[in-house]
Amino acid sequence: MNQFVQQAANGLLLGSIYSLIALGLSMIFGMMNIVNVAHGDFYMLGALVAYYTVASFHLPYAVAVVASVAVVGALGAAIERGILRRVRESAMVTTMLITLGLSLLLQNFSLMATGGVPHFIRSPFSPEPLVLGLVHVAPARLFAAVFSILFIIAVHLFLTRTKWGNAMRACFQDKTAASLAAGIDIEKVYALTFALGVGMAALAGTLLGTIFFVDPMMGAKGMTKSFVVVIVGGMGSFVGAIFSGLLLGVTETLAAAYLSSGYKDVVGFILVVLVLTFRPAGLFGKRIR
């Protein structure tokens, strides 16, 4: 029983970061109608920027987190302005091909940058686990989970309470009206949305990079995990992404503990198949195709 509670807790901690990365993907899709195939690569890039900030520039971890989100966010904005803007009205396959190209680019630049060797972001947290009631948690994990939850709340507040957040929602609902009636600069909104979406992936990378290795496989993992979460939770659903992120974290951790760690990554696909069979729009999605 203790073992079970411990594993479930580990799963929840991991899952909150899955939610974070998936929300970025969901936001980019929901607002821009773009399937960001390179999402996992931005996640990996985030971890890498943080790693180098700490390892090469000897700056504190906190600075690395901020720097990583800023750098990846700026890169995202630049990519939106430079490339995605040109194909804004095209078929979805077109933008998917472009983000596939981005993925190949980013993935391999990172591979070259690291030489394919796994790295580990050094964080200021002690490896000594904290005891919280029944469960033991590593401080780094606890920090990562709490921080992602706080960030998710912050993004939610941004979208609902601030001028630019509301402008983003308005553009998503009717960009013609946003331009004509309110004079919202939709170019800026698109760049901001993409930057924020990939920034969230980068943040997740900086958080998970202190717990797992930063290696070239990280991008592919980040992509499949976030895709799974978004499909299970329902496209564009905020609550759905949070819930299914946690769900994936817990089921994966339990499967690894009680079934077989080799097949741990299959859990997500089983969830996808189940959801697509019984609730094609996702657990929290509206019925749209």
């Binding site: 609902q173 946003a178 009636a181 309110a182």
Partner: protein, 240 residues
């Protein structure tokens, strides 16, 4: 205040506006009438910067705004209340209104304007926390007008505010538009309901397949035989 000179707009090969010229003076209400597909919406959207003209010139308050971005045009003082209302359905009434003031930064001014609009449209005040998509057509029209007013425009572009509304509601909308104009805001009113438009405005233009075919004070146009035949009672009676 607004002057449009020999504007030409194409959609691919469709020549939607052909050398269209038009003026709106300070505080004036001008009507633009015409049948379906005449190019009325195209004209308003070109003024707003949504569509780029292939030639011609748009100036507002002495400044050249041809091909300017929508956000610059709104900042200059031209707000657009689009055809079909187009409120943001999944946002509340209040959020819709406040976003209308997106390009303003005077917090207190925004607040007083919001109160003023709620005074003017008590229905909206009652429903300020309701999602705009759940409002009735008439309420949505009020909201769309209110949203445009929140930009505190010098010129309001109104695209078919009577579209799809019951006659009694149309009366209400007409009253509102009249009040706005009397409050000093110039209005360029696009309408298929020519009778209403000619009644409200001081001057009018008739647009037919991209050409301005007639213009003048509304009193003259109301008595023009062609207008009577094509746009007022006479023609319609025969068509029915």
């Amino acid at each position: 205040m607004l002057s449009v000179e020999s504007l030409n707009v194409y959609y691919g090969v469709v020549h939607a506006l052909k050398d269209v010229s038009l003026r709106v003076e300070d505080g004036e209400m001008v009507a633009l009438i015409g049948a379906n597909g005449a190019g009325k919406t195209t004209l308003l959207r070109t003024v707003s910067g949504w569509i780029r003209p292939s030639s011609g010139k748009v100036t507002f308050g002495g400044q050249d705004i041809t091909g300017a971005s929508c956000s610059r045009v709104v900042k200059q003082g031209v707000a657009h209340c689009p055809e079909g209302r187009r409120v943001w359905p999944a946002m509340t009434v209040q959020e819709n209104l406040i976003l209308g003031a997106f390009n303003r930064s005077d917090r207190s001014g925004i607040k007083t304007d919001l109160e003023r609009i709620y005074d003017q449209f008590p229905r909206l005040k009652e429903r300020q926390r309701q999602l705009a998509g759940t409002l009735s057509g008439g309420e949505q029209q009020m909201l769309a007008i209110g949203r445009a007013l929140m930009a505190r425009p010098k010129l309001l572009l109104l695209d078919e505010p009577s579209l799809g509304l019951a006659p009694i509601i149309v009366q209400g909308v007409a009253g509102v538009v009249k009040d706005i104009n009397q409050g000093g805001t110039a209005v360029l009113l696009v309408e298929q309901n020519a009778k209403l438009a000619l009644y409200l405005a001081q001057r009018a233009y008739v647009l037919e397949t991209g050409n301005v075919t007639l213009e003048g004070p509304t009193a003259d146009l109301q008595n023009n035989d062609y207008v009577k035949e094509a746009y007022l009672g006479a023609g319609r009676a025969r068509a029915q």
